[in-house]
């Protein structure tokens, strides 16, 4: 066997290792193994444990939220998000993180290298890099804020609002449901609320501790 073939086989093995091997199985429906590893690593780099808001990204459930987000998404947009995760996991080959081994895939970098890599994307002079970072930060930050305890810690949890029944509620069922499921009749129509929310109002039930 020629040397060139050996080199090619070695490169193939390294490529396969980088792309697919060494990732743990995941419980997620939409996130592939390499994506779950990337999302977990990026979540805890962007939102490490400690600080003013105790929860880390993983503790706040970002990977599970991203999984739900992908599931709710049309196929074309889902593909774009898959591509974004793949790009950002692997692109350390092109834009290595500082320090030894900075070319390893993102999820294999040290925590310090990951933070440096993310900051490199955020402050890049290249618009597409900044754009990719913004997309990633949007997805992860919205996942972080989906955690009720994070919003409670930030005093931004939504308050409970008494939702009045209006004429339209007699006409439409919930999206995708049959009209037979309309729960209200003319007697249920109520007055609109008249007073602004009080900051002392109870929290929305889904955001209570």
């Amino acid at each position: 066997m020629s040397a060139a073939l050996w080199v090619a086989l070695a490169l193939l093995a390294i490529g396969l290792r980088r792309l697919g091997l060494g990732y743990r199985p995941t419980p997620f429906r939409m996130l592939f193994r390499h994506e779950a590893a990337f999302v977990e690593a990026a979540s805890d780099s962007m939102f490490p444990p400690g600080g003013e808001i105790p929860e880390s990204g993983v503790e706040a459930g970002i990977p599970a939220h991203v999984d739900r987000y992908l599931e709710a998404m049309p196929a074309r947009q889902r593909l774009l998000i898959h591509a974004l995760f793949l790009l950002m996991e692997q692109v350390t080959l092109l834009f290595p993180a500082p320090g030894w081994g900075g070319w390893r895939r993102f999820s294999s970098l040290t925590p310090v290298q990951r933070v440096a890599a993310l900051e490199g994307w955020r402050s890049s002079r290249l618009f597409p890099r900044r754009l990719a970072f913004l997309a990633l930060r949007s997805i992860l930050t919205m996942g972080y804020f989906s955690c009720p305890s994070v919003l409670r810690a930030m005093e931004l949890a939504p308050l409970d609002i008494r939702t009045p029944v209006v004429e339209a509620d007699l006409l439409y069922p919930r999206a995708g449901r049959p009209k037979s499921e309309i729960a209200f009749g003319p007697k249920d129509v109520t007055d609109l609320l008249e007073h602004p929310l009080s900051p002392k109002a109870p929290l929305h039930p889904e955001y209570r501790g």
């Binding site: 962007m46 939102f47 490490p48 600080g51 003013e52 939220h65 739900r68 987000y69 709710a72 998404m73 049309p74 074309r76 947009q77 933070v115 993310l118 900051e119 955020r122 402050s123 002079r125 618009f127 900044r130 754009l131 913004l134 930060r137 949007s138 997805i139 930050t141 919205m142 996942g143 804020f145 989906s146 919003l151 930030m154 005093e155 931004l156 308050l159 609002i161 939702t163 009045p164 209006v166 004429e167 339209a168 509620d169 006409l171 439409y172 069922p173 919930r174 999206a175 995708g176 449901r177 049959p178 009209k179 003319p186 129509v189 109520t190 609109l192 609320l193 602004p196 929310l197 889904e206």
Partner: protein
Amino acid sequence: MSVPFDGQGEVRVFAGYDRDFREEADVVVVGSGPCGSVAAYELARAGRRVVLVEEGPPVVPEDFVLDGSLSMTRLMREAGLRTTTGSVMPTMQAICLGGASVVNSAMCIRPPGFVFERWCREFELERTAPADLAPHFEAVAEFLGIAPTAREVLGPRNELFARGCDALGYSSEPSPRNVKGCVGSGECFTGCRARAKQSMDISYVPAAMRLGARVLTSLQVQSIRTQGRRATGVEGQVVEPFTGRRSHRFRIDARAVVLAAGCMATPLLLKRSGDLANESGQVGENLQFHPGVSVMGIFPDPTRPSFGATQGYQSLHFLEQGFKLEVLWAPPGVMAVRLPGQGLEYKRWLACMPHAAMFDAIVCCERSSGRVRPRRGGLDPSIQFHLDPVDVRTLQRATHEQVKIFLAAGAHTVLPGVSGLPDTMRSLEEAEILATAELRATQFSAASTHAFCTTRMHGDRGRGVVDETGRCYDHDGLYVVDTGIFPRSPSVNPMYTGMALAHRAAGAIAQEA
């Protein structure tokens, strides 16, 4: 109290379609956003048999999701990830009964007279002067109860904006909005749980139904039917809410077809129907946006930013210089994306949010333009847009003015959100770089939901798609009544202008249908 529905009209939802079907009407209105709903109501009021078709489902409070990202996947086209190419910018269009009115901040701003005078002068329009449109604006205002935001629901964010403008001598006022009983939840963008926002699904659409209009939701209109030079109806398929899966076919025959699918979808529909109404070559051209740039400020005292009308205060002070200033709030996760730093530093910034406020400017980029084309392999648009360097200077000026207002209002730190400039500014001297730097479009994180002009009205049929009443020049019985007919930017939030023009168009259509 609302008047209980007496059942004269009809609404059909996805679960009610079990076979292919065909309907007849005097008028079919495509799209239930602000313009389409006004047109449907006015036509029903004129005694016409109206079918209002909407691709999205009706949504009720149980469908509203407070989580910003999941809410967008349900209520926005392309899951809220639609962007322009060229000058890359997110742009969102809603997909539900009531359209944008369900997920916007209810701002109903009437453009100042100079806007319509310029429209008339530059686009050879004879009946679009301020006095011509005044009765239409007033009719819509009366129906929806448009009024300035009540003091009780302003909250600190809006009050700080007012304080900053006052300190600088800039005019400002509470934003006029179509709300009744607003509680200041700041949740306009994910759907009003207090049912205060008079979105079309709870205002004009039920009123149209009381007058006999039939409202068919979850129907995707795929083409306009014609016979010679006359539009005779529409056809398409039933689509499942949120998944977009298509099933049964439908056809609606009508004497008049009124397109109100929005400035992105209407030109696509015309093009997919055999390039209808396009002898002028203007269908899908002339696209304009109001790119928005936002700035965040941190104050010494808590601002309770999640309380207060989402966009309760505004300044028209710089309107003639090309931008309008507003207060802004959105789901906290959306707001936080712009904060600097990584790791614990990012978390420190997040912890500042209870002391934060956000302002934004919508910029009237009249030198910039783009086009809408069908995207290969789907029904979504390919949107090209290019920001002109002169308009970029206006974005820069608008950002600078926002920083000045924050500092005048007492913010100790301002985050201008411009790439390549300092993340924070704490004084007018530090902000001076916004006046002197040579910035590029890509340095701004602009976004826009205001889009118009892709089927513009023009007095010369060789240079426009429709006349002043929305009638297509090239076909009988075919009308456009959405923001695509604006000949250029209205300089302010477009919903109210679109509704007023639809109100006027409905009068003309009723006479002909």
